[in-house]
Symmetry: D3
Subunit: 163 residues, 6 copies
């Protein structure tokens, strides 16, 4: 068993994908932001008439996906084909779930782009609300599904609550 | 109660800090990455002789803190004074805890920089190990402590397990 | 009469501001996007119920202001204190006017940051609507007001129609 | 009629181009910077012996085209094949016209890259000359021509004065 | 004889590669950092137990290769397929040699990416050690080998000492 | 003797400068690009009538200085006060020497910014000329002078040939 981003002497490398074929690939990641009741209410209300926290977070998440190779050292720079972000408010838990779906026709997968989109959207929700709730928690960022590469189809088998 | 990043008509703004004094400010954030036993072992072993996952993640986290204003829409661009990242392996849980400490002498706080450092370090651990463990989960990213601004000292009062 | 960004031999330089005092400075720039009637209507309607073109453009403009030193070669990297963007729909002209206000306590002015915010917000409006209207025109980007530096207060004396 | 960057619920998305074929695409955009007579003269003279405003603006515009996906939220990151910028001095109007031509072999068009090149070149001209002329105006940024995508050939039919 | 990045009137352009075929290309560049004996010893020792200068420099070099189009004005933005960096300590000279190998399947070569990787890794070594040795010198950055493009195979024929 | 960018356990850190006073600091770095006679001639001639290699390289170097914290992992993000780049053609050696001078009023020095400016300018000269001369060599990048910090004044005492 071996970590692919290190060579035989333990040196970090950006792995060579130059001879892999271009295939259609998709990755879905998710995560959640938990908060106080009043913060949750304010976000839901703002959406309608006083400011759109989730709208700003969606833009940030999509732009964040594009910055993945600037942030994650061994990630390949990629020409992403599509990024979308969905927010699923879970009222009884005062939690906003975030789902990012990224697609590409390319030589390598887009898991990290989906993760980064989720993380940046979550951080943005925190930033937009931190003046009223410093105790928000970002949790449960994980891969939901991945398809299209040589490593085959992956489907998350964990806790069904989030996705 | 009002979200500070929106004005009275609900328009997003980068809030005005131009008349605030420069003060010494510090923020500490943390988070964790949970993984399979063999992944945890491999990271711990690699550290010694076959590649340094945490070393790469530390560099990524520190660089990530500097990219915060590029990622989080309403964050001010800041001249950070210091960033440090600590990893605390929790063997019995197969979990790596991540703590980021950011300092500045400036007009606004550095919470988001500490959060971004944690998130980017966590995403990098995922990326470096994903070939052997796609089911890792990033969780519990929260503010531990914050001092030095007008809003006073904040100390996390939640779950004592992580920090 | 001399261009400040060139030295005596005509070489481009980032001019030296190291001995200038920190003062509170503000710059206001504006510009406009003209479009077909139906595009204008769609933007105004979308704002209410089907997507928020101006919300996305506002986030882009604020983030764009922060990228100014990456884009404009001789601009100093600056710790901006505040950025805000206002959109003024001019219904009878099917035109959206854009106004950006940037503040800093620093050694040099923020005109270019205000201009860049306007330009990026305008480009984003174009991008969001180009599928239905390729003939939109971005015009009249100019400085409205500037205060706080050694060069004194500037107030635009041109065409009163926009600002 | 629908804005392509929003889904059916009005959420912003980076539209999916993963199944579109790679084709050769070109976009041409233009714009202009109007200024005082002496500013125009100085730029024209400087070109010859005391500093090259347009040379700096050309480099900035080409580099700006490459930053388009960092600036415009829903733009795809693209491997541009070519960027060129032409300046056309219009002496009787004391105006510099700017034309940017961008090409790619790819899945989506490069209009926004051509627009961004024009805007950044125009902003740079402003920045290089602002010490002597704060009243310059950037105007008339529009698409001149576009070819190679599914939406067919577009040719600007407006005001013949600029292009 | 003509510089390819200028057109017939001497204007800088990003040259058009839109009709070139995708081929597998590789470039190898190298360079060196010379230092005092004790600095060299410290780097070699640190590697083992007190901090990993070369590990940090390797991450920086790989990330630097990805920033090439942001830094070098006429470079095309590229989807790099692989980047690796090797350090070769030359004990008798108190010198660390750096070799970067970059691959792509694309329309243009990756020499500048290999050069940038070497330069950024070298600058990082300097930065990490400058507190104890300000007189380090970075030298001999050159192309070692290049293959896969229309211009044919290039093999460095100079000084055999470094590579 | 200790490397300042590592803590006592050998972990990389961005060192804490939050309590250091703002002082005026300056750093001067230099380096050189050696080339074939005809390449050198072409650059010198182009300057006059067919394209301005050094003009493009100067813009790239100044912009590169601003990207230093994005490239060098442990560098602080700084509000640079001034950057200038001089090229000194050394005809008898077919070499272009590059000198970068960076100033700041700040809490930490700007050596790395001066180095990065030299390196990016040198890489750009290579890029602009590589179609006619792949064997150019970048050498002798070193610190010439540094003043203004606690570590005192540094003046290079090496080879007098370059600076």
């Amino acid at each position: 068993m071996k970590l692919s981003h290190f060579d035989d002497q333990g040196k970090a490398v950006m792995v060579d994908v130059s001879e892999k074929p271009d295939t259609l690939r998709e990755a879905v990641a998710c995560g959640s932001v938990s908060m106080k009741t009043e913060t949750f209410r304010l976000i839901m209300d703002q959406k309608i008439n006083k400011g759109d926290v989730l709208g700003v977070a969606r833009v940030a998440g999509i732009m964040g996906a594009k910055r993945t190779p600037d942030l994650i050292p061994m990630c390949h720079p990629l020409s992403l084909s599509s990024v979308r972000i969905d927010f699923i408010p879970v009222e009884e838990k005062c939690r906003i779930d975030i789902k990012a779906t990224v697609r590409i026709t390319g030589q390598t997968g887009v898991e990290m782009e989906a993760f980064t989109a989720v993380a940046v959207a979550a951080l943005t929700i925190y930033d937009m609300c931190k003046a009223i709730d410093r105790s928000m928690v970002i949790s449960d960022i994980h891969l939901v599904e991945k398809s299209g590469g040589k490593s085959g189809h992956f489907r998350w088998k964990g806790n069904p609550e989030t996705f």
